[in-house]
Every structure is written in structure tokens, then in C-alpha cells.
Symmetry: C2
Subunit: 341 residues, 2 copies
DNA sequence: TTGAAAGCGCTAACAG
DNA sequence: CTGTTAGCGCTTTCAA
């Protein structure tokens, strides 16, 4: 690979000039033909600045790490696209890691920064990571932005509007005539779960409906957990006619559980899922979902991190644009009672 | 962050000694206490070698890039785990990219290498990347290993045993009594698709069954393509009673199409999918699949790449261990005729 | 058994 | 308008 000094020699200039031309140094005045010679030489030799040399000199890697629990979720793909786009726009590279690796005692974060491999982090926590563990990891490190989640007493996060999303899902069921609406939510200590539950409660409240604790389950977002939750909801009295499942993968599990119990969706019971992904179109019945702006979360997270890296005080941002949208498919319908009328 | 010279100063030695102690240079003889002082200093200062400094000096980044079309596929998660594990074992870092970005004219590959950001590539092509385009990209570059796919006239690839996998799927249907077995395959120019088709043909041949061209569709692996293929197969005569779908996501699309046509799976028609993933458990009916050793492909691919990087001639490896396994669920049953007997 | 020094490729302050 | 030079942190040859 060509080096700067080769370019310089070929163009008959010093490395310093070559460097400044190539980096488009604004406060540099060159004779046009000098400039041209450098540019041509660079093109001819297919020059790309050596990454290590630059990183060493500048003490910055222009690399960001995105740490996620589940790399293989279609939801995550949107986040990634957004983050990648935003990073590329600023000529940053994105390194992808998995947050399974990040447990309380783990030094992954500190090591990556310590080595100077990355300038900062986008961190999406797993649900098993406790607030304290997260806190100890993250402390008041300005090189970290939390995505989709927050932790008490710390600034620097980008979340989506979970309240609005869960509310939209719930309102949909209510507007269909459901009065007995249950929630299959996340684990109790998760702030994400809390916000979604809040949206659910809000929608019920505004509809003048009573929120009953016996209609809320907090087992988590996995298909299995949601399946168990659905089963328990549906086999106890009073039985709900509508289910808001706070995660689409959970909703898929719930569908399986309901089918196993011989219940018809949406005949006997309606299901709305939080988040949209392609399988939702291919489940039976196809799932009505609320699509959340994951891409934009990725974009904002990177912007936020970059801002922090250049010294701005950490912010907690809520992405409200684009707003959550209801994707109507076939898993929701008016409740049985209503339809018999 | 602490630097080597800080460690050296603290330990009262030269950087040279510090470096060699920390790197466990075998041909270095030190007094035990010198060694100890260095080690202690490193621990106290929480030292991690600066990545850029080392990369610059060694002209190697100890970083590999994995380039994939669909980051968000659960299948890919296994590949990634395997590759990550193998990379970590050799203290390499894995960078993840998407091969959408890699089109014929793209210089992503050359740029990443040119910058010295990565030492080599694991490349999983998209189906839209033609052989020529791939060839021109990959040429005889020893820093690239193709995963799951090959290209003519080039060595350096790791693929799974597609013949065995497709054969197993087909045999399953045959052993259930199906004689009219169709294949929903990949696009015609894909070598992967070709191998799977070969496995299908082989199984039919061994069962003494005739392979009919009208029972083969080559529209690709997407849910939509496979749905179209399923529809066309099932609405024309003679109608098959069993479907081998060469990709699990395609199978999900096929299921949707069959349901739309009012066909019962497996009552009217059986479906086996190539590849296993969690949704297969939650489709209706749950999908019988053939699970392929993706994790191991990831491991072998990294090993292969590392071998190439250290000068070994490129190999074409087929991962046969662990062997494909049939995951029996509910989308397959004896054909209607047989059951009526 | 240890240290001095060169140099990887780059940027930027300074000098001309 | 252009060149010289120092130095980022590291490894490694050579000398002591």
C-alpha cells in the first residue's frame, strides 16, 4: 500500500504538503498545479491513508462500538442501519459487539477504550444487567450512550417513545371495543418495560377503563416467557379479550400458546405486538403491530455520542419522530361479546 | 491511558524491557524481580497496549472483517458466534459489515485493507453478486475467504455440506412415502443453490424416484419468492405432495402461500425447510427443518483465513462435522394418498 | 540481564 | 506557497 511519502516523492512535494492537500486543510494555500500533482499521484497509487498512523498521531480512532444483546434480531437491523448511516456521514466506522459479553465485572468496555480501538460506545443493555452493574460499568463516562434504555442518575441516552408506542397499541384494542385488555410486559426492573406499561395504563385510563393488576404479566420479552404469560392470563378469571404484547417476538410465542390452548385469534382474543418485523406478516394470523422508529434511534444515538465526544454535556433524548405507527394485520378484531350483538 | 514508557519509568526499567516482559518474549531472560516490578506497574496503572501504536509498528491490525448480506438473520447469529469465538481464541477482533455495500465497483474491501484496518476478510456474497463481479473483487487475494459460497477458478472458501443437507431433507419426505417431491430452490446462478439441488436430486435418484423439472423452482430464498414458487407448484399439474424449501425463511413464506390457497400442511402437502431457526418452532404448523452447522462454518472460516494470512495456500473446505440434523416438527406427514389407504 | 535508538505512517507547529 | 521536523506508542535490533 502506498504511503504518504511515496505520494509526496511522486508529486515532487514534501509529505507535509501532500498531507494537507489530501486532508483538504482549509488554511492551506497551494498553487493549483501542486495540488493537482498530489491528487493525481494519490489516485495513481491508489492511496488510502494508513489507519494506524493516523489514529496514533491523532489519538483518536474514528471508530465507535455498538454493543447489543441480540445481534440477530430483525429489529436490531434497523438500529444498525441508522447508526451505520450516521456514523458513515461523519466518517466513523462502526464496530459491532454483543452485550452478552458485557457483564458486571467485564472490562470489555474499558479494554476497547483503553487500547484506543474505539472512541466511544453505543450500549444496549441486556435485561439481565442490573442497574447497579450497568451503573458501575458506565459511571460518568462521557464516551458511552445508552440506547433504548436508561439508568437512574446518569445522563447520556437515546430511547424511543415507549409510552406513545404502548399507548397506541392499547388504544387500538380499546377502539375496537375491548374493555378487558391485558399486558404482557417486560421484566419488572427494566425501565423500558416500565415506560411501556405506563403507555398501556395511560390508554386505559383515558378510555375510562380500570387497570387491573391481575391483567399484567412481567416475565420478559422472549417467546417462551410471553407464551407462559399468555397461558396464565387466559386460563384465569376474569379472562381478557385483548392482549398487548410488549415485544413482537413475545407476541409470536403468545400466538403459539393461544393456539395450543385451542383459542382462536382474533375470534376469541386479539393480540397486538409492540415492534414490527417481517415475520409478523407470516405468523398465523398475521400480527397487528406497532412499528417503532428504530432506525432513527440509531441515527440519534450516534449523533448524541459524537456530540458528547466533542465535549457537549450528555443528553437524554426521546425519539418522537417518526411517530409510532399501527400496522394493521389480522390478529385484532372486536371482542367476542361485541360481535355477537 | 497508561503508556509503555510510564510503565517502564514506574518499574525503573527501559521501555524495551517492559515491552518484552509484557509480551512474554520467550527469548528474554530477566531477573525475576525486574519482571515482577514491570508486571506490578502494568497492573497498577491498568495498562493495555495502545492498539494504533502496535498496529503501526507491526503493520498488522489483528482485526478481521466479516461481511454479510443479512446481519439480522438468526442463521447469521450462529456463524457470527463461531467466527467470534475462533477469532478471540487467536486474539483477533471481528468487524462486521454488510455485503449489500459490496457491489461490483465497490472498493469497500480494498479500502479497508488499504487503510490497514483489517488484515483479512470473511465474505458471504449476496445472491445478486454475479460470479464475475465477485471474481473481480476477490481476484487472487489471499486475504479473503468466501463463506457458504464459492466462485469458479478461485480457492479459499468454507461451505457447509449442502448436498448432504438437502439430501437429508428430501430423504425425510421420501421415507414418509412421498413420491411427488418438489424443490423450492435458490436462484439459478448460485453455487449454493446448485449444491442443494444436487442433494435433492441425489435423494430422489437413490429412492428410484424420477426428478421432474416441472417440480423445481429457482426464484430465490426470500419469503416472497418462495411463496410465489409454492403457489405456482401447487396450482399446476401434476401437483407435488411434498415441498423441500431450500431456506427456512422461504419456507415461512411458502407456508403463508399454502394457507392462503386453503391447503392444509401437512394434511394436503408436507414442507421441510433447509436451516433451522427459532421461528420455525412458532410457525403454523411448526416447521420440520434440517439444522446445518453454521457455528462450525464460522469457526473454520476464521481458521482458514488465519492460515492463509500466515502463508498457507488457500483451501476449499466443506464442513461435514457436525452433520446436518433433521429437526422433526409438524409440517411433514405421509402424503394424503398413503394415509387414506 | 538490560538499555538506546530507529522507525512504522501520519499530522501540525514552525520556519522559510 | 512549501519544507523541516518532532513525536504519537510500540517493537526489535544491536550494543553494552
Amino acid at each position: 500500500m502506498a504511503t504518504l511519502s511515496q505520494i509526496a516523492r511522486m508529486a515532487g512535494v514534501s509529505v507535509s504538503v501532500a498531507s494537507r492537500v489530501l486532508n483538504e486543510d482549509p488554511k492551506l494555500r497551494t498553487r493549483p498545479d501542486t495540488r493537482d500533482r498530489v491528487l493525481r499521484a494519490a489516485r495513481d497509487l491508489n492511496y488510502t491513508a494508513n489507519y494506524a498512523g493516523r489514529a496514533l498521531r491523532l489519538a483518536r480512532s474514528r471508530t465507535l462500538a455498538l454493543i447489543i444483546p441480540d445481534v440477530s434480531s430483525p429489529l436490531f437491523a434497523d438500529l444498525l442501519s441508522g447508526a451505520t448511516a450516521a456514523a458513515e456521514a461523519e466518517e466513523y466506522t462502526l464496530l459491532i459487539g454483543r452485550s452478552n459479553a458485557i457483564t458486571a465485572g467485564s472490562d470489555t468496555v474499558r479494554r476497547l477504550v483503553g487500547e484506543g480501538r474505539v472512541d466511544g460506545f453505543l450500549l444496549q443493555r441486556t435485561d439481565d444487567l442490573s442497574d447497579q452493574a450497568l451503573e458501575s460499568l458506565v459511571a460518568n463516562d462521557a464516551r458511552i450512550v445508552l440506547v433504548t434504555s436508561r439508568t437512574p442518575g446518569r445522563r447520556g441516552s437515546v430511547v424511543m417513545d415507549d409510552v406513545a408506542g404502548a399507548r397506541l397499541a392499547t388504544e387500538h384494542l380499546v377502539s375496537l371495543g375491548h374493555t378487558k385488555v391485558a399486558l404482557i410486559g417486560g421484566v419488572p426492573h427494566s425501565d423500558i418495560a416500565r415506560r411501556r406499561e405506563q403507555g398501556y395504563a395511560l390508554a386505559l385510563h383515558e378510555a375510562g377503563l380500570r387497570r387491573r393488576e391481575c391483567w399484567v404479566r412481567r416475565l420478559g420479552y422472549s417467546p417462551e416467557a410471553a407464551a407462559a404469560a399468555a397461558e396464565s392470563l387466559v386460563t384465569s378469571e376474569p379472562r381478557p379479550t385483548g392482549l398487548v404484547v410488549a415485544n413482537v417476538n413475545g407476541a409470536i410465542g403468545a400466538l403459539t400458546a393461544l393456539r395450543r390452548l385451542g383459542l382462536d385469534v382474533p375470534g376469541d382474543i386479539s393480540v397486538v405486538a409492540y415492534h414490527d418485523e417481517w415475520v409478523a406478516e407470516h405468523t398465523w394470523p398475521p400480527l397487528t403491530t406497532v412499528k417503532m422508529p428504530y432506525y432513527e434511534v440509531g441515527v440519534q444515538a450516534v449523533k448524541s455520542l459524537l456530540a458528547q465526544l466533542s465535549g457537549s454535556p450528555p443528553q437524554d433524548v426521546v425519539v418522537r419522530e417518526p411517530a409510532p405507527v399501527l400496522v394493521l394485520r389480522s390478529s385484532t378484531a372486536p371482542p367476542p361479546a361485541k360481535r355477537q350483538v
